[in-house]
Symmetry: C2
């Protein structure tokens, strides 16, 4: 009996005609721990985003444009149909359920894996056509050999790596709570908890967080986390900061016991359905206080991030040298080379996501992940896309470079240059304070649009500080209604993806900075945080504007200057030929 | 007794403590006929947009960024305070009223001069603080020597000027009505009525419309218009098209008599409050059918508009020649020169708005209108901004050029070039189908933002077809949520306005065209409709990108080619020096 059949049997037992299994954990983490990868276990699709819907007869997987090619491959033969959720005419899951179910049917979902907001909306939509929702449906019980809950140890960030003290952060949050009359505040995103307490964990691969909840009032701070993750020194540190450690499992019952005079702030888009439904006190949906503060970097954090990037770029440049001087290696070995060079850097902790080293047609899959058994050999010619990042005590990095190997086609050269052109056009932008991510997104795409090309994803995302490599609310996308504020950081990563042929992406990491203030208001601009050489082989200089050409030459000059002290003579000589003045 | 005092006396008589007088007529026209310019009569402010609020003690005028400088001047000494409505912290009128009035007070408004939607919102907001609204307040009765209702004659557009036949247009609308079950449709915007019936009128200066309403069902079309405006041939034409002419004054009573089984579509943002409130049948707020169709040009209309622009640009080029070769003329004489040259063109009807000829500091007022007594002499040096347009049988034109006279400062040269750079960057844009006006607005502003400059208005607006020079829904503005669709036309007019010093604007008229269709979707681009020479004196070539420089040279070459047959030898020789290759 295959896994879908096992699931159907369980559905039958629970009396549900359909079920929805998202990619999620009770903290609604972006990257979920193995323990919670039920959707992957059932469907076989390994991408980091997607929702599986199973009915008595059919199975469907909804995922976004980054994963179409990969999902198509991985779902092949499973009987599960791919739904391309980024396409405007793709059927919505609730509409699909309406079509497939009859009045009186039940849909099973696990309330812990959906935000209050999302599940309320689904319930409302299905109620209209008389379909019930069973939110106590917990299909994870069918999972044999399920990986255990992660048990990574927490650690304290030493002062030099903290943008701000815990007491100052707590004070700021309490002021915000008071302003709106909240007596309590619930933070459920591990990133928020880590940020507030200046600690980190080790529960999620590539993201140094401890799965935990935080409940605070004007006098007390309760951290809900498994005691075994907290050693004596962390325990002492938390005590010194007036944090009471509570049993992770008690969050639901404790929330239910908050007294009726309390008024609790919780973000319905971030808190899972069950946490909110247990509340007996007054509460209000409130954009998470921490979420909207932690995206603004302090100058100390920015200085640290630049230090992290020096290390990262030493590792990457050495890796590029090695890749260009190796023969017959495969994509996984490229990842290994990068990891080896990173490990030689002080303060390196782990990758910030699985390195994408994608040669040739593999790079057309935006979030391709090479595996030893199936990965491609790096050929003598063509393009090698490397998207990689590290967690350093000084911050989180994320860089993409597309390496030109031997001969590439004229089309590839042109598209490589247009991607670079879009990347530079965006990072040179100046814009008034108040500009949304969507307002300047077109700058990065215009050179591609002129050739009838585009990429089916955002242009850029926020990056956490020794936290998740994707962090909101800032985003560069036609859908982003969020302002770009001073001291936010964001990536700039346009690309071209030609199915079955090749992929190109160039990604830099930017910080929003003051530009000038005039009678017309305050203007902002970007500062580039990372100096990672951009190879000039394959770049058609005449397609760049004069200022873009100058920018590229200056940027590469800076790379040389910054990296020289850390490279061998051979590496440096090679680097000089890799980034020629154009 | 001054006019505000007369108004206050009338307010007292009506028992209202405050009144709101908008710039409006019962059709909510953008340019209101003299008969309805009560706000101007009371306040002295002559701008085309603004709302006057008068209380027992105070007077305030709300207007937008285009008019700050002008309003400041014209309101000086009137006791009426200027409220800068485009500023984010400007108090809203309803908030102002809440502050000034006490519970139980009444505000007087003329229901005919507000859209149903707008007045409903105001009533709702004021009701919350117990302030009543008297919608039967008609302060126009205090206006002595009020200009009469306009009585311009209607005329039929001959076939060569019509984008589509009346019967085809009517058929399309009826199909749309049927789709949503509407039995009746009310059009109150004169532009919509004119467009549908392929007739024009002469009631509003610069806008060839007849003030009229149209009510249609699946079988009948009723045109509400004063009979004296319709001569025998128009009458015959309308009869042939199955249009029944009704007395203009009967619209309210006739709407009240529509039978109860009917279901009427009316746009609450376009129909005045009284028209909707009289209805006894079922009705629904519905985005005006015609409004959303008439913005899409047919190819025949585009071809006609290009013909209109050839004529317009002959007139403008001859005018520029004359201006450069005149001595000691003033701004009004500049307007006269343009009008004289236009009158020599076949098919010219009238200006499409009052020409702005603004020399030096006057050009800093975006919508400056020179008057003979006060207008400036054109000096030997400096900038002369000319924004002008004409109504031709082939369509409506709108062009701005900023003429460099003698010496200008380095700052002026730089800003002139940056405005041109923004203008070109926008018109060279390529963008996917579905792009909103807001998504590419930044392109036109970026060169200015880089210098900390900006302009406090939209980048561009739609233009009617032998109708209003401003036409929606399309708009280039950070506020525009409207798509740029194929065959819409729109202006491109960035600018720099330095108070008390000078103003620069360059405006072209663009049509949205197909660019290409690829696997990434349909892409659109702009085609320039007008070829009016852009003087190269004062342009700093090095500030333009290579492609922008080439565009300018090509554009000016085209101007030369198109205009040569119509210019005298002297004019053409001058033109060659005016637009040098850069």
């Amino acid at each position: 009996m295959n896994r879908i059949e096992i699931l159907r049997e369980y559905m039958k037992k629970c009396g549900v005609s359909a079920c929805v299994i998202p990619t999620s954990d009770p903290h609604l983490s972006e990257y979920v721990p193995e323990h919670y990868k039920l959707r992957q276990w059932v469907s076989g699709f390994t991408g980091s985003a997607g929702t599986l819907v199973v009915t008595e007869e059919e199975g469907g997987l909804w995922t976004d444009g980054r994963y179409y090619i990969q999902a198509e491959k991985e779902l092949n033969g499973s009987g599960i149909k791919l739904y391309k959720a980024s396409e405007p005419d793709c059927i919505k899951i609730h509409e699909y359920l309406k079509e497939k179910l009859k009045s009186g049917d039940s849909v099973g979902v696990d309330g812990r894996l959906f935000s209050k907001k999302e599940l309320d909306a689904i319930i409302e939509k299905l109620r209209k056509c008389d379909v019930n929702i069973n939110t106590e449906f917990t299909p994870d019980v069918i999972w044999e050999d399920r990986p255990p809950m992660p048990l990574g140890k927490a650690f304290v960030l030493s002062e030099e790596y903290c943008g701000e003290t815990v007491s100052k952060k707590v004070e700021n949050i309490r002021t915000l709570m008071k302003k709106e009359g909240f007596t309590h505040y619930l933070a459920t995103l591990p990133e928020s908890v880590m940020w507030l307490l200046n600690i980190r964990g080790n529960d999620i691969k590539c993201t140094p967080v401890m799965l935990s909840y935080l409940l605070m009032s004007q006098n007390e701070i309760f951290l809900y986390a498994p005691k075994e993750k907290i050693n004596d020194s962390v325990n002492k540190y938390l005590e010194d900061n007036n944090v009471t450690i509570c049993d992770y499992k008690n969050i639901i019952t404790d929330l239910g016991k908050i007294n009726e005079n309390a008024f609790l702030a919780a973000d319905f888009s971030l808190c899972n359905y069950n946490l909110i439904n247990v509340l007996k006190c007054a509460f209000k949906d409130k954009k998470d206080f921490i979420y909207n503060i932690k995206c603004i970097r302090t100058q100390k954090e920015i200085d640290n991030i630049k230090r992290a990037y020096i290390k990262e770029n030493i590792a990457l440049t050495k890796s590029f040298y090695e890749i260009y001087h190796s023969e017959n290696i495969d994509e996984c070995e490229v990842c290994d080379i990068i990891e080896k060079n990173r490990r030689m850097q002080d303060g390196y902790i782990s990758p910030s996501f699985d390195t994408i080293a994608a040669y040739g047609a593999n790079a057309a899959m935006m979030h391709y992940c090479s595996e030893k058994e199936s990965c491609a050999k790096i050929g003598k010619n063509g393009l090698l896309l490397i998207d990689t990042g590290g967690q350093y005590y000084e911050g989180t990095t994320d860089t993409t470079r597309t390496l030109v190997l031997g001969e590439i086609t004229e089309e590839q050269k042109e598209n490589l240059t247009l991607v670079l052109k879009g990347n530079i056009a965006l990072l040179m932008a100046v814009f008034p304070d108040g500009t949304l991510g969507r307002d300047i997104d077109a700058l990065a795409r215009m050179p591609l649009w002129e050739k009838g090309l585009d990429y089916r994803c955002s242009t850029g995302h926020g990056v956490g500080y020794l936290l998740g490599v994707h962090e909101g609310p800032q985003r560069l996308s036609i859908k982003s209604q969020e302002k770009l504020c001073e001291m936010m950081t964001i990536t700039d990563e346009p690309g071209v993806y030609v199915e079955n042929e090749y992929g190109i992406r160039i990604e830099n990491h930017l910080c929003v900075k003051k530009y000038m203030k005039t009678e017309y208001g305050s203007f902002l601009c970007f500062e580039v945080l990372n100096y990672c050489p951009i190879g000039t082989e394959g770049i058609i200089a005449s397609l760049l504007d004069e200022r873009q050409r100058q920018w590229l030459n200056n940027y590469n000059e800076n790379c040389k200057k910054l990296l020289k002290p850390f490279l061998t003579k051979e590496e440096y000589e090679w680097l000089k030929t890799y980034i020629m003045k154009i």
